[in-house]
């Protein structure tokens, strides 16, 4: 089960809870086996099974709560904004941040942005694959990715500032 580890990691990042992550993965495999007829050979199997997991999460209590608390009204507006990130002393510090600090910062990124960041940077999915997985237009994927990176950067800069003052 080569995607098993990836699915579990993704589920745990979404739910932030081991038991819930296990339930999500278990339900995903059950639904995948039951609905395998809906998978079209030649299409992307990885995007298909990740979509099942993500949809299962969205209908869970944690998923419903997470999506209710994130404003989505600006989806698609972000392409107008240029993502400038010139080096500053803080940005240099955040590059040197340890793995645990980056993980702590990732936890602070709202789940709706965290998922797109994980699919892009950890699962190394193309924007099209992410769009297929999340059932979103590519423009929205790019917009959310931009906001996710900005949110991560802000969280990391906050941690870098905290570290400097300790």
């Amino acid at each position: 089960m080569p995607l098993f580890d990836s699915l579990y990691n993704f589920a745990h990042w979404l739910s932030q809870d081991r038991d819930e992550a296990e339930d999500l993965v278990q339900e995903t495999y059950a639904k995948a086996l039951k609905g395998f007829g809906s998978f079209q050979p030649g299409t992307n199997f990885r995007a298909w099974i990740f979509r099942i997991l993500r949809n299962t999460f969205l209908t869970s209590r944690t998923g419903l709560a997470a999506t209710r608390t994130v404003p989505l009204e600006s989806d698609g507006d972000e392409q107008q904004e240029v993502a400038v990130s010139r080096e500053t002393p803080e940005s240099i510090l955040l590059v040197q941040a340890g793995r645990q600090q980056v993980q702590a910062a990732l936890e602070q990124v709202p789940v709706i942005f965290r998922e797109v960041l994980l699919l892009c940077d950890v699962e190394e999915m193309s924007y099209q694959e992410i769009a297929d997985t999340l059932a979103l237009p590519i423009g929205t994927v790019m917009s959310r990715l931009h906001r996710a990176r900005r949110s991560l950067r802000t969280a990391l800069e906050g941690k870098a500032r905290e570290a400097k003052h300790v």
């Binding site: 278990q26 495999y29 080096e87």
Partner: protein, 251 residues
């Protein structure tokens, strides 16, 4: 002015989402524009940090066995007249899993090489690319004693055109290894040496391999339980020459 065109596309470039023509255009721009090159390196480092930090949670063995049992049980025919479609589904699912497995190993190899390319690029941009500075292999090799769980041999380079610059400890998926920096002409070659773990072996089943990552030429081979990677923008012949010397030394 060209910054205005290329700078907003840096994330697309680093996510490999530009067309081939635009990728070449961005390569050319980054060679000329130190501001965008620095910005790109900074974003690449954050992207890499995110990738490493994101690989955080691993399922327990007990849970893995539970799911394997679940998949096996669901794949078993429940009613005799349903065995044909169920078998067909299982075959297609198996084929999908095998395909994904192969893709996964290939993707894993690409990921390992990309991680090493990142280290190579970041070190060349650093003011201190090595921690032990010496062209003497009898100084560089002993420096790694006590820092690595293995040892290795380095070749004599007298009269070969190659020069040892020094070395440092590098990490590949949290495992320590040696990074040696060589010069040939005006080019730098990074040679990485790690223990050849099963997951690396599976990603490079052919033993020896050559390829390109982010426009760098890459050579990889395994010998004596160690896995070697050589990265450079030098000509493939120059890299092969150094690899030959290293192979002779390690034989």
């Amino acid at each position: 002015m060209s910054d205005d065109i290329w700078q907003p596309k840096l994330d697309l470039y680093l996510d490999s989402q530009l067309s081939a023509e635009e990728m070449h255009g961005m390569d050319a721009h980054l060679r000329e524009c130190s501001s965008c090159a620095s910005d790109a390196l900074h974003r690449l480092q954050i992207k890499r940090a995110t990738r490493l930090a994101g690989q955080r949670y691993a399922p327990s063995d007990e849970f893995r066995r539970r799911i394997e049992r679940q998949v096996a049980a669901k794949s078993r025919p429940q009613r005799r007249w349903l065995w044909v479609p169920v078998l067909a589904t299982a075959v297609v699912l198996l084929a999908a899993i095998v395909t994904v497995g192969r893709w996964y190993e290939r993707s894993r190899a690409d990921q390992l090489l990309a991680e090493l390319a990142d280290i190579h690029v970041a070190d060349l941009a650093s003011a201190t690319p090595v921690d032990v500075v010496s062209s003497d292999r009898h100084t560089v090799k002993p420096w790694f004693q006590g820092k690595l769980p293995f040892t290795f041999d380095l070749p004599e380079l007298q009269g070969t055109g190659y020069r040892l610059v020094g070395g440092r400890v590098a990490y590949l998926q949290h495992e320590p290894g040696a990074q040696l920096l060589y010069d040939v002409g005006a080019h730098h070659i990074s040679v990485f040496i790690f223990r050849d773990r099963p997951e690396i072996e599976r990603s490079f089943p052919a033993g020896e391999s050559t390829g390109r990552v982010l426009s760098f030429h890459v050579e990889s081979w395994a010998t004596g339980g160690l896995r070697y990677f050589a990265f450079s923008d030098a000509s493939p012949e120059s890299i092969e020459g150094l690899c030959r010397l290293l192979k002779q030394a390690g034989a």
